[in-house]
Point group: C2
Chain length 226, copies 2
DNA sequence: AGGCGCTTGTGCACCATTTCACATGGTATC
DNA sequence: GATACCATGTGAAATGGTGCACAAGCGCCT
C-alpha cells in the first residue's frame, strides 16, 4: 500500500462519490470566484448538502489531501476534481434527436460551462436536417460517423422519442461513441464497453408522486387510528 | 402477517424500489398493448434491465401477488403500480422558469402521458409573462399562489437559472407545493415536509466523463505494465 | 519551544440494497 | 387423482454506502 510499484493505476472511485464530485466542484468554483482560498469539509458539506465526514471520505479517494487544522486548498481541489472528471480536457458531445428537448439541450449553457461543448446535432427527419439550431447545423444520421470522427467526440446524448432511442443508441455506438446519456423514456441496451446513463423526466415525477401519495395515505391513516 | 388488525397503514416502499416501479410500469403497459395477459419476473426483469429476483422482491412490497407457476397478471399489476405511484389520480404540475428548458418541458408529452398535466407556467421576466407557450399562458410569480390553489397542483418543476432557483423553490413552498423537481444546477434547500428531487444535466455528463477518463487511464496503464 | 485549538483522515458499526438459493404452492398433463 | 413442471416469495449472505467518533497532525499564539 505504500511501496512504489511503478505507475500507479488509480483505483476506481465509488459511484456514489463520483456522483457527488460535480456538486463539490460547483461549490468550489463559486468559492474561488469569491476569493476564498481554503475550505473546510464542514463548509463544503453544507454547500453540497451532504455530511462532512462523507466529504472527507470522498476527497480521500482523490489525491487531493487537505491540511489538518486548516482545510482544503480551493483551487487545488478544483484541479483535482476536474482531473478526475475527465482529465480537465473538454469533451465535445453530439446530440441525436432535435425535437423540443434536443433543441433545449443544444442551447443549454451548462454543458459548455461544464466542459462539454456541443459538437453537432443529428436527426433522422429530413425536415430539420440542414437547419441551424443554436448555431449548429443539423446533420443527417448518415453523417454521424463523419461528425464523430471530425470532432473527436466520445459522448452522445439521445433526445429522440422512445421508439427511436435504441436505433439512435446503436448508431452512436457504431460511430465509436463510448458514453451515452439517454433522455428517451425507454430502456436501451449497449455493449459492455459503452457507458450508459438514463435521465427520465416522467419517472422523476412519478417518484415524487409516490412520496406525495404515501404522505397522504399515512395522514389519513393517522387521523383514523388517532 | 395474516391477522386483521384494522386499517393497515401500508409500510413504506424502499426508495430503490420506488425508482424502478415506473420502469416496470412502462414495460407492462407495452405488454398490455400487445395483448399479453401475464408476465413472469424473468421477462419483466429483462424489459426493465434488472435482476429477476429484484423484480419479485420489488413487487412483493405492493399488494400485487403473482401466481406461482404462471406469473403476474399484467393489467392487475399496472393497476397496483399506478395506485402506489400517486393513487392513479393525475397530479397537475406547475413549471417555474420559462427559458429553453422550461419551454421544452412544457411541451414534453411524457408528463401528460404519465399522469402529470402541466397546469401552468410561471416566470419572473415581464417579457414572457402574458405570452402563450405550448397552449399555456405564462403567469407572473405573484399569481403563483392563485394558480396553485385554482388547479390544486402539488408538484412544482424548477427550470430557472441557478441563481434564481432557491427563490423559485421558496415561492413554490410558500404556495403550498409539497413536491419539487429541480433542474437548476445548484443545491437548494426545502423544509422537511417538502420532497425534493434534483435532475442535473451537466452533472450527468461529468459522471460519464469520469468513467471515460478512468477507462482511458486504465488502458494506458495496462499497456505500460503489460 | 511548547501548548492549544482546529480540522483532517479513517476504523468501525449500522443501514439499505442486491443477489442467491430454495422451499412453497400453483397449473397442466397423463 | 397423482405427478412433473414452473414461477413465486423469502431467508440469508454479500455488497456498497453512510455517519460517528476519535486519533493524528498542523498552525498559531504565547
Amino acid at each position: 500500500m505504500d511501496d512504489a510499484v511503478g505507475p500507479r493505476h488509480d483505483e476506481p472511485i465509488p459511484d456514489a462519490t463520483v456522483a457527488r464530485l460535480p456538486v463539490y466542484l460547483r461549490g468550489l468554483v463559486e468559492l474561488s470566484d469569491d476569493g476564498v482560498a481554503t475550505v473546510s469539509s464542514v463548509v463544503l458539506a453544507s454547500l453540497a448538502g451532504v455530511n462532512a465526514a462523507n466529504v472527507r471520505k470522498d476527497l480521500s479517494y482523490l489525491h487531493a489531501h487537505g491540511t489538518r487544522g486548516v482545510g482544503y486548498d480551493v483551487d487545488h481541489l478544483i484541479g483535482e476534481i476536474s482531473l478526475a472528471l475527465g482529465g480537465g480536457v473538454p469533451s465535445p458531445v453530439v446530440i441525436i434527436g432535435v425535437g423540443n428537448l434536443g433543441r433545449a439541450l443544444s442551447r443549454y449553457d451548462g454543458f459548455l460551462a461544464g466542459g462539454f461543448p456541443v459538437a453537432g446535432l443529428v436527426d433522422v427527419d429530413p425536415a430539420v436536417v440542414g437547419r441551424k439550431v443554436a448555431g449548429n447545423l443539423v446533420r443527417s444520421v448518415e453523417d454521424l460517423d463523419d461528425l464523430v470522427v471530425e470532432t473527436g467526440c466520445t459522448i452522445g446524448i439521445v433526445a429522440t422519442p422512445a421508439a427511436a432511442a435504441q436505433a439512435a443508441v446503436d448508431s452512436l455506438v457504431a460511430s465509436g461513441v463510448t458514453s451515452i446519456l439517454n433522455f428517451a423514456p425507454t430502456v436501451v441496451t449497449v455493449p459492455d464497453r459503452v457507458d450508459l446513463r438514463q435521465v427520465d423526466l416522467a419517472t422523476e415525477l412519478q417518484i415524487l408522486g409516490y412520496h406525495q401519495h404515501y404522505r397522504a395515505v399515512e395522514e389519513r391513516s393517522d387521523r383514523a387510528t388517532g
